[in-house]
């Protein structure tokens, strides 16, 4: 579904990604972890071309991002993305947040979009909040709306960029619950997170990044059992020691 082949990315003279290669198969859940500044968010943003990259190629559902014939907005409409800071549109009501791209990017009718949105709001447990503005919701609720907004596009895969890092601790589980359900339903997911509980519960594979490199790309059981690299061992011991 997603193939990442030998990606290099520079910010000026700083190399943010170094020869990164990995893939996510259909229905697979891949967790990307690593210390901050290791390039994991950059990598996931490259997958729907929100960040340009200099060398290498990413192929999503058979479509090469660097191909000049690729219609990027059209491709992005098929790949859902959830951000660390939710990024709901503050000037629009919750329902309008969900409907906007369905109507403008997919060309669905307003009725169709409304029906789809109501169903998804219900699914993330926020049916009664359709007419509110984002600022009236808690962080956890906003992030669940953001997930519903991405799902409303019927995505072929979902990208999560640290979806719980900006949340108060008591709100993390309500967001993770939605993500676990999604994973169990067979959604293809690439998730940047420090939530190792989530990783051990639903991930198939874990990728560990450090300094812009993919240091370890292993099956979940191997990764948590005995990571091969020292750096991954150190990282795990730090975040699992509490």
């Amino acid at each position: 579904m997603i193939e990442i082949n030998h990606i290099d990315k520079w910010y000026g003279s700083f190399q943010a990604l170094k020869d990164c290669t990995t893939s996510v198969a259909k229905g697979e859940v891949v967790v990307v972890c690593g210390p901050s500044g290791s390039g994991k968010s950059t990598l996931i943003k490259c997958v729907n071309a929100l960040e340009p990259f200099q060398n290498g190629e990413i192929i999503v559902d058979g479509i090469a991002l660097k191909d000049p014939k690729t219609n990027l907005p059209k491709l992005r409409a098929r790949v859902g993305m959830v951000f660390q800071h939710f990024e709901l549109f503050p000037h629009l009501r919750i329902m309008e947040n969900l409907c906007l791209a369905q109507e403008k990017a997919l060309g669905r009718s307003h009725q169709e979009a409304l029906a789809k949105s109501s169903k998804l709001l219900d699914r993330v447990g926020l049916k009664g909040h359709a007419r509110k503005y984002p600022a009236e919701l808690s962080g956890g609720q906003q992030q669940r709306v953001a997930i519903a907004r991405a799902l409303a596009m019927d995505p072929i895969a979902m990208l999560f960029d640290e979806p719980t890092s900006a949340l108060d601790p008591e709100m993390i589980s309500e967001v993770l619950d939605v993500m676990v359900d999604l994973a169990r339903e067979g959604m293809t997911m690439m998730v940047v997170t420090h939530e190792m509980g989530f990783a051990s519960k639903v991930a198939h594979r874990v990728i560990f990044m450090d300094n812009g490199e993919i240091v370890e790309d292993a099956l979940k059981t191997d990764f948590f059992g005995s990571p091969r690299s020292d750096r991954a061992q150190k990282f795990l011991s730090k975040i699992l020691s509490h």
Binding site: E87, F89, A101, K104, A135
Partner: protein
């Protein structure tokens, strides 16, 4: 000290002052604001577009307009627009452009430079995550601008835009140099005809003061009401 002043001159000329003069001033202000908003948005988008050449041209334009006194621009436009019109249409003589059209074009061009800077700041005040989220949902660049970035930016910059519009309202009095009877021009004409300079200019000052003050107060009220909860 006012014993030899004749304030009745104001009452006698009210019709001319307001029906002719103030109507002209308000019409010019309103049309100039609308035009400058549209043209200013365009310039702001050019500066933010990421196309080097477009940004450079827009930047040069803004710097040029902001470095010239408004009166000078009004003069130049009044004398130049007929020739530019001639050059554009290929007519054999300078195109006749009325003082109103000429001053309107001037104010739109001039104020657009200021408006565009306000808008640029307003657009840049929107966090990068917002356009990223819009694009991640499959919206194109222009849809992202239209539905996500500009509505938020406009709301953020509305108070500043309105304040600048109040300044524009005062600045329209500069059409005086083209001897157009705007409110100040009308007051000045009456003043000179009846030899009542002090009375008329006092009155004109009072009217500008009251209108601008009330408008500023309205802007502050509005600002408090639309402030965003993030």
């Amino acid at each position: 000290m006012f014993s030899n002043f004749d304030f009745d001159v104001i009452r006698r000329s009210l019709g001319y002052l307001f029906l002719d003069g103030m109507t002209f001033t308000l019409t010019l202000t309103a049309l100039a604001v609308v035009g400058a908003l549209i043209f200013g948005t365009l310039i702001a988008l050019m500066r933010l577009s990421g196309f080097r050449l477009l940004g450079w041209i827009a930047g040069l334009y803004v710097d040029l307009m902001r470095s010239l006194p408004l009166v000078l621009v009004i003069f130049w436009f009044y004398f130049l627009v007929p020739y530019i019109g001639q050059w554009l249409t290929g007519a054999s003589r300078p195109v006749h452009v009325g003082a109103f059209t000429s001053s309107l074009v001037t104010f739109i061009m001039f104020e657009a430079a200021y408006f565009s800077e306000i808008m640029r700041a307003g657009i840049q005040s929107i966090s990068k995550g917002q356009p990223a989220a819009a694009q991640a949902l499959g919206l194109t660049y222009s849809q992202t601008m239209r539905y996500v970035v500009l509505p938020q930016a406009f709301r953020n910059m509305l108070p500043v835009l309105l304040t600048q519009s109040i300044v524009l309202f005062q600045d329209t009095s500069l059409v005086y140099v083209l001897s157009i009877p705007d409110f100040l021009g009308a007051a000045s004409k009456v003043a000179q005809r009846d030899g009542r300079l002090v009375e008329m200019y006092l009155f004109a000052a009072a009217v500008y003061f009251i209108i601008s003050c009330v408008a500023s107060f309205g802007v502050r009220r509005l600002q408090a009401r639309i402030a965003f909860v993030h």
